[in-house]
């Protein structure tokens, strides 16, 4: 085989070496949100400006006079991130600058308290990529339920007990609600598939208009699992059908990450302390809830056709191989 030497500068251009968020921050070991934010900023590059909601990400990346951010970054409040980003974008537009505005919010800051500001931003068509780091609860304040918390999960405000089996309500279908604003691009992704995040961030960056990316970011502390298993847990959420990876363009479903062999929801749930009460021996309610959660997963698999048609190199297992730089099967 002929040897080729590639100049180092070329290599660097080909690799996303730029880090918008650096190491040394104070996130918990194995924090999915920290990984997600790093991947997003890496893919987005340096010509960005970030509006960040209150939450874990904001707290663990800053404490005056330190900051983990290498891009212009601003935190204002918990519930106004969509509007702060809109203001930044309006200003850049007025100044005829092309810097892309990113908005970062947790599930609480996005699904709940910042919902209105986000809706306004989407409806008005601001050129902003809004990224929701979905760890399925208010982690920064110590694990309270949000409207993103999955059904039956234990949080400090949805504890299981004699009368309750964890959260009583369903996880809000945020990406559909966002897509209903007729925006060009809304998608979900997971830190378990970094290549998927990169691809979607680049796609959204190229669109002149409001785009939305909801990234599933397992939280070892809040979900009760070992910080070494973040990717594994994230992958199981997708492989069970509980967190479908989808893309919606102008309201139409245009892409899903197919699951080669759907796993039973128990495989995912039993890894996490927040679902411990569902595995109590001889507990009828626990069994009913497990069946209920399986039904939710089955429903997702059906409506999004997650099993796909035929075989795809870009299903959940294929994506893993691609991400590891391994086999590419046609």
């Amino acid at each position: 085989m002929q040897e080729t030497t590639i100049p180092a500068t070329n290599l660097r251009q080909k690799q996303p070496r730029f880090q918008g968020m650096t190491a040394g921050h104070r996130a918990c070991l194995g924090c999915g949100e920290a990984l997600g934010a790093r991947l997003v900023t890496e893919a987005a590059g340096p010509d960005v400006m970030i509006a960040n909601a209150t939450g874990c990400l904001e707290i663990f990346t800053t404490s005056w006079p330190e900051s983990a951010w290498r891009v212009p970054w601003m935190h204002s409040l918990f519930e106004n991130t969509g509007a702060i980003a809109a203001g930044m974008e309006a200003a850049l537009k007025a100044q005829k600058k092309s810097t892309k505005v990113l908005a970062f919010g947790g599930d609480g800051g996005t699904f709940d308290i910042g919902f209105q500001a986000l809706s306004g931003m989407l409806e008005r068509g601001h050129n902003v990529l809004y990224v929701c780091f979905d760890n399925e609860a208010y982690m920064n304040t110590g694990i309270q339920r949000s409207s993103s918390t999955p059904h039956a999960a234990m949080t400090t405000t949805s504890p299981p007990g004699k009368e309750r089996m964890g959260k009583r309500h369903l996880k809000k279908d945020m990406v559909s609600i966002v897509a209903a604003h007729h925006i060009p691009y809304a998608a979900t992704s997971s830190v378990a598939w970094p290549s998927d995040i990169r691809k979607k961030v680049r796609r959204a960056m190229a669109i002149d208009g409001p785009t939305f990316l909801q990234i599933h970011v397992p939280c070892p502390l809040g979900w009760g699992f070992d910080g070494a298993k973040t990717i594994e847990v994230g992958r199981l959420a997708v492989q069970t059908g509980l967190f479908p990876i989808i893309e919606i363009e102008r309201g139409g479903l245009t892409g899903v990450l197919p699951i080669r062999n759907p796993r039973p929801v128990e495989d995912y749930l039993k890894e996490q302390g927040r679902f411990r009460h569902l595995f109590k021996k001889n507990d009828l309610r626990a069994q009913q809830e497990l069946a209920h959660i399986q039904a939710i997963a089955d429903h997702n698999i059906e409506v999004y056709e997650l099993k796909g048609h035929g075989s795809s190199a870009f299903d959940d297992e294929g994506m893993t191989l691609v991400q590891r730089g391994g086999l590419r099967r046609a």
Binding site: T62, P72, A85, A117
Partner: protein, 390 residues
């Protein structure tokens, strides 16, 4: 050249002259005409700016903040419920030391619901860390808006220009709208020192530990106190341009030697002057228009009240369970002087209740009957109330 303009129309023109690049607002009576007029200026191509028509006041203030952080001159306006909905953002803007201008079309706060004028809204956010200027008439509102941008940008602090709802916003007056060149000369293009930009990335709004928090608060407090100089200078320098001056922090009218001082804020000063003309008093009276409420001009008030035997503070809001807000602060300022005048404190014109032309004799009468320091709401008809509330 004088033009007959409604207050809101004049304000919209003044804002446009300041060349804001981003404006964001949400309609609320009596502010609505201001944003409607601005929208029209934008639609007619007379004002080149991004007008962001948001879904709430909370977002209006946030959009203005985001825009200012991204390096644009920004503007917003609101009133009453809108100001209260903005409250969290107002603190955030001021704490971040971001220059912005907001017009508050002063209105009462619900409940009970009232769309009419008093100053409970701006008073309720007096501790948010904004500069607060109160205008007596629409010409002053126009000139103060222009001054406000220069003050905000020189001090890196937000400025709230308070204009009485309806009384000013909806009243037609002859207004001298300044020429664009006059404003451009006074208000050059501006670059905020902490603008977010990819070429010099900084982090704003970080968490601050107890190791730095008191210092941040101290510097904010100090910045407001220091702003007094810029407020005076802006009035002086703009006066050079347009020939109109408003006294800087406060304006005194009437007999400088008077033993009785009546101090108030906003459009009621016009009523007080008219009242003095209509009902000439035997004793001479000095009027003090407190133009700047934040920073609170302690020394200027002490000087304005020097030699007075009694000071009557007339205000348009209250702190239920305590009493007058302006009155309490004036009382504290006067407690530092050697021969301390007696202070009488009244609220009037709440929720749009008419302040009648005989307000001066009424005030003097009320003061002569009250014990000093006592606070009362003028003109309350107790027979409308159940026994226990009288």
């Amino acid at each position: 050249m004088l033009e007959a303009l409604e207050g809101s129309q004049a304000l919209a023109r003044a804002v446009a002259l300041c060349r804001p690049q981003v404006i964001s607002a949400y309609p609320i009576t009596p502010q609505t005409h201001i944003v409607e007029n601005i929208s029209k200026l934008v639609a007619d191509g007379k004002l080149d700016c991004e007008f962001v028509s948001v879904e709430s006041e909370f977002s209006a203030a946030s959009v203005a903040l985001g825009a200012a952080m991204a390096g644009s001159r920004a503007y917003t306006a609101s009133a009453s419920q809108g100001i209260l909905l903005m409250a969290e953002v107002l603190y955030n803007i001021a704490g971040s030391r971001v220059p912005l201008v907001l017009t508050c079309a002063n209105r009462a706060v619900s409940s009970p619901l009232s769309i009419w004028n008093d100053q409970q809204d701006s008073m309720s956010v007096r501790d948010a860390g904004w500069i607060q200027l109160y205008c007596a008439d629409n010409q002053e509102a126009v000139d103060t808006t222009i001054q406000a941008y220069r003050i905000a940008e020189r001090c890196e602090l937000p400025v709230m220009v308070c204009v009485d709802g309806f009384t000013l916003t909806h009243t037609l007056e002859g207004i001298d709208v300044p020429e664009p060149e006059q404003v451009d000369g006074f208000l050059p293009a501006y670059q905020f020192s902490r603008t977010l930009t990819p070429t010099n990335p900084i982090s704003m709004g970080t968490l601050v530990s107890p190791d730095f928090y008191p210092e941040a608060r101290h510097s904010h407090h100090q910045a407001l106190l220091n702003a007094a100089t810029e407020i005076i200078a802006a009035d002086e320098d703009w006066g050079e341009v347009c020939g109109r001056r408003y006294g800087g922090l406060l304006k005194t009218m009437g007999d400088p030697e008077a033993k009785t001082v009546i101090l108030s804020m906003g459009s009621v000063l016009g009523t007080l002057q008219a009242s003095l003309q209509e009902y000439p008093q035997q004793e001479s009276i000095k009027l003090v228009q407190l133009r700047c409420f934040r920073p609170f001009p302690r020394q200027a008030i002490q000087q304005a009240c020097a030699g007075a035997e009694r000071v009557i503070v007339l205000e348009r809001a209250l702190s239920p369970g305590s009493g007058g807000i302006v009155g309490n602060e004036v009382l504290a300022a006067l407690s530092e002087v050697e021969t301390r005048p007696q202070l009488f404190n009244c609220a009037a014109g709440l929720g749009g209740r008419d302040i009648p032309l005989d307000i001066v004799p009424r005030l003097l009468d009320a003061a002569s009957q009250a014990t000093p320091g006592h606070f009362q709401i003028l003109d309350v008809q107790l027979d409308k109330l159940p026994q226990e509330d009288r």
